[in-house]
Amino acid sequence: MKNKSWKPWILLSPSLAAVFFLLVIPVCFVIVYSFWLRAPSGADIPAFQFGNYAKFFADFFYPSILLTTIRVALETVFLCLIMGYIPAYFFYKTESKFKPFLMIIVMLPFWISFIIRTLSWINILGDSGLINHVLMKIGFIQEPLAMLYNEGAVIMGLLQYLLPFMILNIYVSLDGIDKSLAEAAKSLGCTEWQAFREVTMPLSLPGVSAGCLLVFVLTCGTYLPPMILGGPGNEMIANLIFKRVIGTLDWPFGSAISAILLILLATIVYTYNRYMGIGQIFKTLSNE
């Protein structure tokens, strides 16, 4: 095999070239551009200065958006965890012959366009949406409740986008646990709950943490739910990037915000990889 050591590189070269030229170099450009200046005319001037970063941290406006992003991401992770663990546990335990069917169904939203899933919540939460319509019909309320354009609506959209990822990650981890371990604990006198708490749950933690990381990272990088379901105060950092780049064409500042997001996420992913290993996530995704 040694004399053919060039062979894998030939097979790899197209993919490597694609990722190198279309991902690695462009991301380096984002970093470089974040030090550039923007002329009043709108032209970008090559420079090396930290003005864009200073602008970001100059007052409380931009950092507070960053904090909102992190808060919303943590809330989403928490709710995803609760809403994801129980169905995943159900799939692990159930002996129903419909299990494969139920699992395909739970993955279906993954195939539906993100924008449709996001806007579909308007039909549920809007002034003339399903909930208000039903509540007014039964005379529970006179005026429609304002459920859209707030953080709750944004989180609804995010949850629906991310829950399949969480369920899948936890399920793959649970699926690898030998059921006889919990049985052994029970035969030694544990209750069902104790067996779960002491045996099954700790063994499922790799999937739980992988799911949490994925949900956190994906939440931080999305701008559609805040844009469609949120109000003016619910903007997240990706909205800021979108507005700077597509709206005002302020490339240097947009790049600086992107770089800040990138550094934040890279730190989190790096730390995670150091202690947990990133392989779990890829393992799970390949099961899809």
Partner: protein, 266 residues
Amino acid sequence: MKKIISGWSLIKIFTLLVYIWMFAPIVAVVILAFNPQQFGSFPMEGFSFKWFVKLSQNSTILDAFKNSLVLGSFTAIFATAIGVPAAMAFIRYEFRGKDFINTLLLAPIMIPEVILGVALLLFIRWLQQPKSFALVLIGHVVLTLPYVLLIVQARLVGIKKEYEEAALSLGASPFQTFREITFPLLAPAIFAGMLFAFTISFDDVTATLFWATAQNQTVPVKIFGMLRNSISPEINALGAVMIVLTVSTPLLAGYISRKFAKGPGK
């Protein structure tokens, strides 16, 4: 024993509620698409196909559909064309820096799409190239490549190396071996990878909004544009078409692959 059963039924009920929660908005889109009223909302006042008819007469939407189909197909072809050899390299060979390169090629999954969008657009701008169909296409290839890699690798692990070695020792050339042995065994995974790449490309909006122009809008980008003036029954109808299309594809593919391939891998 009674307590255990009640705990289990709580889990069942909760799971059922999650299902309802997850699908209620999607079902609402499909139902409201048939609402003949001007405002795409409840209550339903009858049942009509008029919004679908209106869609089929809207040339910009038909163009967007055409763009999405062409884009998705090319993305699927290119992503598998470069992804399959890479997957072969990872599973069949040992080389230095393997783990690092594997992580590098899978990185697009972990990098937020908004950054991929900005980065590629910035690079193209620096090269002084205009936004074009090719930009969206190469962007989508990078987005979908990791998924193709993961799917094909997972399948390749289950195909015994001995089959290939036997063919080689009987005098087949490496290319013949791939064509006659590896490819047929790998075909379901290649098909699944292409399907996945197609759907991701067809559905993507976060990064595509950075790359698309008015001339090469995809359907999700078009929907985004239509949303500017609130949700309309037309959007619901378009959403319903997209839902039926992208949901039926994997179900059909799953059915076909289950019928034909009962091989290793999940």
